[in-house]
């Protein structure tokens, strides 16, 4: 993809002249920062980026990036991004979307983009609420959440983003936290470099309508013990004191304490993000507090043929074999007759 740039760009180069309109304290600000850092690292010229979004607070994002941008309609960003990338595989295409935009109204386009493995990067801002419409529950809201449309608590089972991605045959899934700039930047870079549909779930805070919903896991005090940052090829170790880890116990994962019962670091599972069989990734993506730490980082990253590349390869191959090279050829092909 894309030519390589000689003069390195800085995050500032990606700031547009538009006033940023998110609430003070909204997690979206941090995501914007991290994305601007990440794209500056990629060595791709600005004009080769296209940021596509739907509708929602998060979907305002493209306005703030000094790249090509398309703030479209609610739920359709995956389809539009599919069009952009299939039309021009030379672009670096990013879809910015919310839990409502991607998983409620946009659920179908989302799973189909993932299935096709189109080479776009989807950043899904999961605040477990509809922010822009002022606080109704979303398909990721926890059961029981009281919101404007669930005054007595929701009765719905939420989606888990990772499950859905893997269920739709997804090849890249990562998770990060809005405020963790370092991790986020890294994850966004890996998503960009992965060829295929990269889905990054960003645990994002909506200060107004669902404040601190992720804090039980990612709050400053607890996050080291309640999350694990997965790194390909590294043992699955976590905890404030780096003393906890994951092992396999029959068909399930289990948290152990290093040192206890004679368990050493060597007994821990080693993260293999590129394994095609999704079994273990499914389990990792699925881990939830309090039983497990929540997995962050790149959980799954399996190489594969991308849709956009396959489409263009097929065109090139048919072209090279066909006798029809232009419209006049086509017009005169097959059964014709001459009237004189």
């Amino acid at each position: 993809m894309a030519e390589i740039l000689v003069n390195k760009l800085t995050p500032k180069d990606f700031k547009s002249d538009q006033e940023i309109r998110w609430c003070p304290g909204c997690g979206d600000h941090a995501v914007l920062n991290a994305v601007q850092r990440a794209v500056a690292e990629l060595g791709i010229p600005k004009e080769k980026f296209a940021f596509i979004s739907g509708i929602g607070c998060s979907s305002r994002f493209p306005y703030y990036m000094d790249t090509y941008g398309f703030h479209s309609i609610h739920g359709r960003a995956s389809a539009i991004a599919t069009g952009v990338k299939t039309a021009n595989p030379d672009l670096s295409v990013w879809q910015i979307t919310g839990d409502g935009d991607a998983l409620a109204i946009g659920g179908n386009h989302f799973i189909h983009a993932v299935r096709r493995n189109i080479d776009i990067n989807i950043l899904l801002f999961n605040n477990e609420i509809y922010g822009l419409t002022k606080g109704q529950y979303s398909p990721t809201s926890s059961k029981g959440l009281v919101t404007k449309t669930s005054p007595f608590g929701t009765v719905e089972e939420p989606f888990s983003v990772g499950d859905l991605v893997i269920g739709a045959r997804g090849k890249f899934f990562a998770r990060t936290v809005d405020a963790n700039l370092a991790l986020s930047t890294q994850v966004y870079i890996e998503a960009a470099k992965h060829k295929g549909t990269s889905v990054v779930e960003v645990l994002q805070n909506c200060v107004i309508f669902n404040d601190a919903i992720h804090d039980v896991v990612v709050g400053k005090e607890v996050r080291d013990d309640r999350t694990i940052i997965l790194k390909h090829g590294q043992p699955m170790i976590f905890g404030k004191n780096n003393d906890k880890g994951l092992v396999l116990d029959g068909l399930k994962l289990k948290v152990i304490k290093i040192g206890e019962n004679g368990v050493t670091e060597k007994d821990l599972l080693v993260h293999d993000a590129v394994e095609a069989n999704p079994g273990i990734h499914y389990m990792l993506a699925n881990m939830d507090y309090p039983e497990y730490p929540v997995a962050l980082g790149v959980i799954r990253s399996v190489p594969g043929i991308t849709y956009d590349a396959a489409v263009h390869e097929q065109i090139e191959s048919v072209k090279s074999q066909s006798k029809i090279k232009c419209m006049d050829d086509l017009l005169m092909s097959g059964s014709t007759w001459v009237v004189e």
């Binding site: 004009e47 509708i55 306005y63 309609i73 599919t82 489409v311 419209m327």
Partner: protein
């Protein structure tokens, strides 16, 4: 050729091949029309088959038909009533008899008139007697047994042998119309080049039918339809859906753009997608999307990325695309949305024709949301109007809805093949890399179109979207800006009128009655109007292709006639639209909502009534 006892020269003739869905009637009809076209007749065809893939055998619901109208003079419709009906089973008679001319010829396979089939078709014992067909020219050929006999040395199983029945019937019809068999024989050779036995079997069946025609007395008289005096050139038969696909590919080549189609299959529009998907050789990018919304949205993304964007559908799909068409209007991205209309509302009558999506095309979106709407009139001019639609879309930076219909989509007619160099130029307003910041809603002052800045172009980075914007592209809630933009978008579409041709009047430029139609009813209207003119009536026709905006001379034309009759296959949508746009005239209406085209007779009767009442 064999000597014939009696030959009647005719101006035109209508033949209907009809049988069970599995009887191969579509192929039979196509081969006959190709042969007629090669011979130099003008013609028009219409296939008519059940919605079910394989409707119950032997029943009226399972009858599949193919009608061909050929002539020595200009032919504009597949014809109302047929001169010759080929009926492979009793149900085919039941389904079609009311569309056969009094005293017409009916060829049928008497071997197939078994008790069971007669009953399945809803007759008691004898279809010929029950339908009172004494006055008709009835040819009851033992087609099945003759075919079996003719092929007995081929070692085919009975089922395979019987599959050539249709070719036997076709042979008889070739005899009847004094046609050559060579085109059809070549077709077999090509189609079955891996199975020479099958090719030969079909040839033998075809010839057997031909000779049978020669042999029996009943097949006199033999009709002769001389070639039509048509313009010089190279011709081909083309159906509306293929023509539309080709029109888009031609426009793409001329505009120097790659074509991108994002569509979801739906009858009767799928053919366009299928035809474009087959032309990867011309660089077509085709995405079969997960639904209609993704169809238009992928196309809109491709339009943003600088492609010639197409999405194709039928009525229910157009409904689903409404919201995204609004986005195209707001972002002022070029895109052509094809609606091949079918019977509605809802799923309606999916394989039948209708013109009832006009209102939806004009008005089916939230907010003030104008788009260009144009309609094709004949199978072959689907090429022309697909080309036009693409040209308008990219040159004016606007969505264009192109209306076709089931009748055009599947119907065929001979088409004089254009040369690419003769087609009008297409110049998309592509923005060029520059030093000044790019303002996405800065406009061309003549067309009011904005410029198309294509991702990948250095220095033109910009953001567009569905929220109201200023010229610079900043989201704006300023009341005056909104009103300004609403008016500009409206005016931009209105100004397309400056770039389209005036409407033509067929016939005298003034008179007692102006018949007004739009889109696919043209063939029937022109035929009826010509007949009325030949009868000395003061009747002319205008048939609209440009619907929004209307051509500039409408008022001028309308004011020259005493009466205006608007004919359409719906409850009066175009008439309603004309009342809105040209309130100053009175409009009479002729409407039909039966899933069928007009008949010439209906139109003539209505015209005569108006002329005589006044």
């Amino acid at each position: 050729m064999i000597k014939r006892s009696q030959v009647i020269e005719k101006e035109e003739v209508v033949i209907r091949f009809s049988g069970d869905s599995g009887d191969g009637m579509q192929l039979t009809g196509t081969l006959f029309s190709d042969t007629a076209a090669l011979f130099g007749n003008d013609l028009s065809t219409f296939p008519d088959y059940p919605a079910e893939i394989r409707a119950p055998q032997g029943t009226v619901g399972g009858v599949s038909g193919f009608q061909v109208h050929l002539g020595h003079s200009e032919i504009n419709t597949p014809g109302d009533f047929s001169d010759v009906l080929v009926a492979m089973n009793p149900a085919a008679i039941k389904a079609n008899i009311k569309w056969v001319k009094d005293g017409g010829t009916i060829i049928f396979d008497k071997d197939n008139f078994t008790e069971k089939n007669i009953e399945k078709a809803g007759y008691e014992k004898d279809p010929i007697a029950e339908e009172k067909l004494d006055g008709y020219n009835i040819i009851d050929a033992p087609i099945s047994s003759m075919v079996k006999e003719a092929l007995k040395d081929f070692g085919l199983d009975p089922k395979s042998a019987l599959r050539t029945k249709n070719m036997f019937a076709l042979g008889m019809v070739y005899w009847l119309f004094d046609r050559k068999l060579d085109y059809t024989e070549k077709y077999f050779e090509k189609k079955f080049h891996n199975k020479p036995g099958i090719a030969e079997a079909n040839k033998v069946a075809l010839r057997a039918g031909y000779y049978y025609g020669e042999t029996i007395e009943a097949l006199r008289p033999v009709y002769k339809i001389l070639p039509a005096p048509i313009a010089k050139g190279t011709y081909r038969n083309i159906a509306g859906n293929s023509a539309a696909a080709w029109g888009f590919m031609a426009a793409a080549e001329k505009a120097n753009l790659q074509i991108f189609i994002g569509s979801y299959p739906i009858t009767p529009a799928t053919g366009i997608l299928e035809e474009l998907a087959a032309h990867k050789d011309l660089g077509v990018i085709s995405v079969q999307a997960e639904d209609e919304i993704a169809g238009i949205c992928t196309a809109l993304g491709a339009s943003f990325a600088g492609k010639l964007a197409i999405t194709t559908t039928s009525g229910p799909g157009l409904a689903l695309k409404s919201e995204a068409i609004g986005l195209a209007v707001m972002t002022e991205l070029p895109i052509v949305i094809v609606d091949v209309q079918r019977g509605g509302p809802s799923t309606g009558l999916p394989t039948k024709t209708e013109q009832a999506d006009l209102f939806q095309a004009l008005f089916g979106r939230n907010g003030e949301c104008p788009v260009v709407v144009i309609a094709a009139s004949t199978p072959s001019d689907c090429f022309k109007f697909a080309y036009e639609a693409a040209k308008i879309a990219v040159e004016h930076m606007t969505p264009v809805i192109l209306l076709s219909d089931s009748y055009l989509a599947n119907g065929t007619e001979p088409w004089r093949i254009p040369e690419m160099k003769d087609l009008p130029a297409i110049n998309p307003p592509i923005a060029e890399s520059g030093s000044v910041p790019f303002h996405p809603y800065k406009r061309d002052c003549e067309k009011l179109s904005r410029y198309w800045a294509i991702p990948g172009t250095k220095g033109l980075e910009h953001r567009i979207g569905g929220l109201e914007k200023t010229t610079k592209g900043t989201v704006s809630y300023v009341p005056e800006n909104h009103e300004h933009m609403v008016n500009i978008r409206d005016e931009k579409v209105k100004r397309v009128a400056n770039f389209i041709p005036d409407i033509d009047v067929y016939g005298k430029q003034e008179g007692d009655l102006l018949v007004v139609g739009w889109g696919g009813s043209y063939g029937y209207l022109i035929t009826a109007v010509r007949e009325l003119q030949a009868e000395g009536r003061s009747v002319s026709l205008v048939n609209f292709n440009y619907i929004n905006p209307l051509p500039r001379n409408v008022k001028d034309v309308f004011s020259r006639f005493k009466n205006i009759l608007v004919c359409e296959l719906n409850l009066g949508q175009f008439a309603g639209y004309l009342r809105m746009e040209h309130q100053e005239f009175a409009y009479e209406q002729l409407n039909k909502v039966q899933g069928l085209p007009f008949t010439i007779r209906d139109i003539k009767e209505k015209c005569i009534k108006i002329l005589e009442d006044k």
